[in-house]
Assembly symmetry: D2
Homo-oligomer: 421 residues x 4
């Protein structure tokens, strides 16, 4: 990727940040063929061109429409096509039918992006006021979320093709030495604060900062590796009901699950954005569901961390790791040169926590339609933490709460163990 978002200096203007984020979206998928932009491989993924249009619609609908006088929408039919789930904005095209839309073409969507970019820039240059600044910042963060989704969604599309095409051609890092034994960091618990401070951008679901009481706990000092997960499989982990939550056991049996998503049936190779590659046993396990992460933890006589535990630990380390700017777009083995422990807290894989995605005490969603962004999903999902190899570096923070259904696997999901003391 030509444009590293962490090139953006703290002093960058909002207009600069906007331009770089928008350019980054196109840069990520520049190696795709036109045909690749069209397909939706399952209801929870979207076509690449839909992502490119939807993020544009977000800026057009929530900023240009209300705030730029005399703005004319690019094509008023796009409102129906590219609204994702903002019900208060009206009806929308069905989510599971996004892959039926051959038009607008990729070129037309690029023109749409240019049109909106030009007007946002004009708005920002003219000086815009706090309300607009906040919304543009929100839109940039929204754009970044869809950058990650473009990578995970196109990975799923390409994986469905027996030809197994690659998005990129890259060499993955290799460890010389074996992984160090998994160790646990001790935390005394007690009354602690969790959630985002008021300073700096955050999503509404990270607020308000509030007190929680934690029992003493221990947290694994690195991610679980493919090699460790392989031991679980070899020990018949997928066939012992006692290791699984009831819903997970039903899922394993109904879907005939016996290995992580993208692993070959002989457990030797996996599909990556660089095509099919040998499995590196020292790299972090990824593309597992919550059910699998939870079963692995039970097998290991441990448990998944609660989100407040994870956040406490994460707030004490630096936000470094294998992010999208790294260009590998795949979790990488632990780098011994990084001294900090727990390691791999940020980047590589989203870490499943044991915590249901619920509102924090006193939580209030944003006013208006953008209040539909986070709050209405606070049911049936689990919190994931830490970002992944497909997350922009400046997008993540210790208080960041991502959320997915327990059977989801197409994101770069992985796990870290925790233990009671």
């Amino acid at each position: 990727m030509a444009l590293r978002s962490d090139d953006v200096s703290p002093a960058a203007t909002l207009a600069e940040r906007y331009s770089r984020a928008r350019a980054a979206s196109l840069a990520l998928v520049r190696t795709l063929e036109t045909e690749d932009y069209v397909v939706q491989s399952m209801p929870s993924t979207s076509p690449t061109k839909w992502h490119l249009a939807h993020t544009t619609w977000f800026f057009e609908r929530f900023i240009l429409g209300p705030y730029l006088p005399d703005f004319k929408v690019f094509d008023d039919r796009y409102h129906f096509l590219f609204n994702s789930y903002y019900y208060t904005q009206g009806t929308m095209h069905a989510r599971d039918r996004r892959g039926l839309l051959t038009r607008p073409t990729v070129d037309e969507i690029v023109a749409y992006r240019n049109h909106v970019d030009e007007h946002i820039n004009r708005l920002l240059i003219d000086g815009s006021g706090n309300g607009v600044d906040y919304l543009v910042t929100l839109g940039i963060n929204h754009e970044q979320q869809h950058q990650e989704l473009m990578l995970t969604d196109i990975k799923h599309v390409l994986s469905c093709n027996p030809l197994q095409p690659a998005l990129i051609d890259t060499d993955f890092q290799r460890r010389g030495a074996p992984l160090p034994n998994l160790d646990y960091a001790y935390y005394p618990g007690g009354l602690t604060n969790t959630g985002a401070e008021s300073a700096g951008f955050c999503f509404d679901n990270e607020t308000p900062r509030h007190a929680v009481h934690l029992e003493p706990f221990r947290l694994g000092d690195r991610l679980i590796s493919n090699g460790e997960y392989r031991e679980f499989i070899d020990d018949a982990g997928y066939r012992q009901s006692s290791l699984w939550l009831a819903d997970g056991w039903a899922w394993v049996n109904e879907q005939r699950i016996d290995r992580p998503l993208y692993w070959s049936s002989d457990l030797s190779a996996q599909f990556t954005l660089a095509g099919t590659r040998d499995i590196d046993l020292s790299a972090p396990i990824t593309h597992i569901s919550f059910y699998e992460a939870d079963a692995f933890a039970r097998w290991a006589e441990a448990r998944l961390p609660r989100e407040a535990e994870w956040e406490l630990a994460a707030s004490q380390v630096s936000i470094e790791g294998n992010f999208v700017e790294n260009g590998s777009w795949h979790p990488q083995p632990l780098d011994d040169a990084v001294p900090e422990r727990p390691a791999q807290m940020f980047g590589d894989v989203w870490e499943w926590t044991a915590s249901a995605y619920s509102p924090y005490p006193g939580f209030r969603p944003l006013e208006g339609s953008i209040g539909e962004y986070n709050g209405k999903f606070m049911c049936n999902q689990l919190v994931c933490r830490g970002g992944s190899c497909a997350t922009p570096h400046d997008h993540i923070r210790a208080t960041y709460r991502n959320f997915f259904y327990p059977q989801d696997r197409w994101q770069f999901f992985g796990l870290r163990l925790a233990r009671d003391v």
Copy 2:
């Protein structure tokens, strides 16, 4: 019901308790026709005769087999038929096919019950030791849970019949005066303990007792009534997306939900175990899903209580209310003669909380197969509190955690509001 379980004096022996619980199961359904015992109306319900056999299997399998020397199982084919979900005990008959079993007949199942009762009694009379005593107590509580399920399941079966047959013929209590305005009790929060103490029987999921930090909150001093819920409907509550969780909105639209389960389309009548009856606007709303309870709360500019909040309040009131022994098997209007506030904390309806059903910090399931009782369901479900009009009085307590999926409606579910301060 001839036999009130609260007739059981504290001094009753375990054998007495056992006999009374077992007799109560049969007494609940004595007005049924043989045909009624057979049918399964949806995958999450079970035929009445299956319940009667399954609870018997529980005693046979977990107590008589291991602890009564020379015990011979009644029919070794029943193990496959009447194991519910104890996977570590082997494979079992598919849950959604229980209604295909015309045999064993009701008479054969009564004979099975008698056989097991006779041997459990012999075991208890001979003196059994703590392990057996605990398991028999667990089995009695298990029997009581299925007593409640028999009532809710047969209610669903009977409701599917255009003839709308009744299980009982009873008169419901009527309020003379209008309901008092809903008021809120104030709780200062802070660090508090939640979960069961070691003394007395409880399920493993109520333990360990542990500290939680609560923000100050207010709790509604009575249940939400049919009349209040009717205002929500009349205000287009089912058609405003902004009131609903995303998954709830999808559910409402896909299932075309526009009123509580068992309500007539003109909103004037509801199916009860006493047949179709006019809706009493002062009685508690019931047979609503979590999604509906949550949407109502948002409409009312309030929220559902968290389970620790509910438990704190419940631990300060007496365990009185409209339980199964009352014989109405339907929620009843607030009785002004009961002075305690918050009122209606126990009985009437299971109150949906905002809390996902998760393990308490330090939770450990019981050892062996009975460890499958509670822990493995700690995903995708919500906690309900307080028992219902179908719950035996001596079965419920302030720390009791029941759990259901957010779309479930066939139990006597209702709601109480809470508010931040």
Copy 3:
């Protein structure tokens, strides 16, 4: 069965025929437990008690209502419950929900039968006229069709039960000698008439009698046996795509079909109305779909007969065979004492033909609602001929056209081969 319908002398009055047909229905299922009457095991089967009520409704609705002055319906709610598919009579209870009806009870349905029988008898004794006589005769034939369905439906219900209960206890006939080699009878074809003459009762779908031109053909002189079908299985018949129709191949793979319905996985035993029994290799194959019959024929380098071919041959033999009155309720091995060839044309199994169920040239359905009896099903089904071991002897004839979907297996279906010359 105590009452043989072929005891009915030709001189029997219509009232006598009516009474015997009605009594026969109850006699067939007299060994059932009450619980057995309730269950519906799949959408295309019905509960036994539903059959008993529906045939009664047919007499009440189409005869007593219009023709008996001052007749009062037994229970006007039954019209909705027991109408099967006569849409012109109004809406009806959903077919796939018949098994949810625990009420009316079996006893209530017997009372319903008695009520209707009493009034039909009164109508017939008073003298009724041609219109009524025809309708009563139609109703008797309808009753007989449901007698067969009661046996095939309860067989399916009982087969779903791991306890494998039996309806009857009977000994099946055994062949001493091996089966004679399959031989073919030659028919020169040419212009021939097919369909029912006007004399005697027949269904509308057998009319009008009309000319068809047939090429010369040969017809197998007996049914295909279990032994022959076993050779097909052993020759990988279920795994060779080239033997199957495309829709059949999809069905085999999606449903994972590898043997006839009711056969054990080791191919040694089969479920019968007398419980699980060893497979008699010399008995006719049964419970196969059209797809399986067609694939077998292709494997045998033959084909299924067209219905006009079958009818031509059948019109030249006597109507003798293994019918419901025989009491075995299972296909029996060829009896060498029967000299006629082709043998086994009637009784034992319904023979799949190659003919789609279509209207004969000039076909007109009956007037009014009873016109819904046959004509509206003339799409997507195949014609079966000859009756089965569950068919009443006096119900069948050479021109009789039964019809089922190609994947159906729960009837006593079998096959006979034909060949071009």
Copy 4:
């Protein structure tokens, strides 16, 4: 379309015919955007690029592989991707997942076409022998069938898009005068021959020519129009159960069908390959299922013709009509300048017949894998006759049997009435 296949003179060499057929496929879709080639809108349609690749595979697999020495396949992975349903050729990519394949790209498929064309041409120039000539002719006819499917499939894809994009920009012909009243031609019936003579190319399913006996009948002298179908709708045709086959009635209710496919809800406009257009009441009705055609006929107190009846009449008129070369790609109103009656027997719409698609007496499929072409579909489908506005002129003939499922609507289906005398 630049290249009219009827420009091909009878004296054209096979190589010329091949080249023109292949070029015609690309010419039909030349106005598409790259994105349009990728999408599969329902399981029974295929992406445009899949059609272009599959017909190429047919030539490569069945001709070049066996007959051109030293031929190297273009890409051996294409065999799995582009085999449609030739099971005897090995496993294949799942039909309903064709839309997931973003690769090979359109350009790669065009290169594949060029590679195969070059080698077929070499084979034909070198002189090839009868076997190859037959297979190339079969392949050309196969190519033509997929030309029609490309048009009907892309029509469905484009119709799913709220933007309603058009494939072509064309003006439809308009009638000045009202349609003449529907009249019937009389045919005396009797013994007649049906099916293809040996001379000239035909598909195996048209053979052998054989005798059938027909009753006297009358056949409508033109197609049913939109105006006549509109009367059926206005007369509540979709809401009268007595007009429908049972399976059709279930389909209408489950799918909520109340008008032809592609009609707007106000019945004023319809989607065409030229975009959304006003409905011309004098043009033939199209995009109706067999169920709708059959219900219309019953409403009109007529019936659908049997295929032998249709063929008898068609064999007496010239093969002229509105074919794909006409370029309108939509049924056109009756042209009074055409004197022949019955009119519109060829082109415009495939006419649903009353005949199930069954083998003719003595039918034998072709040897080998190409025997999978027609015979294995002879179940559950109905015969359609006469070709449509998307059929190449030289592809159709009086004996041609097309076949579809009764609920299919995406082809240009229409109807003509018949009557008994």
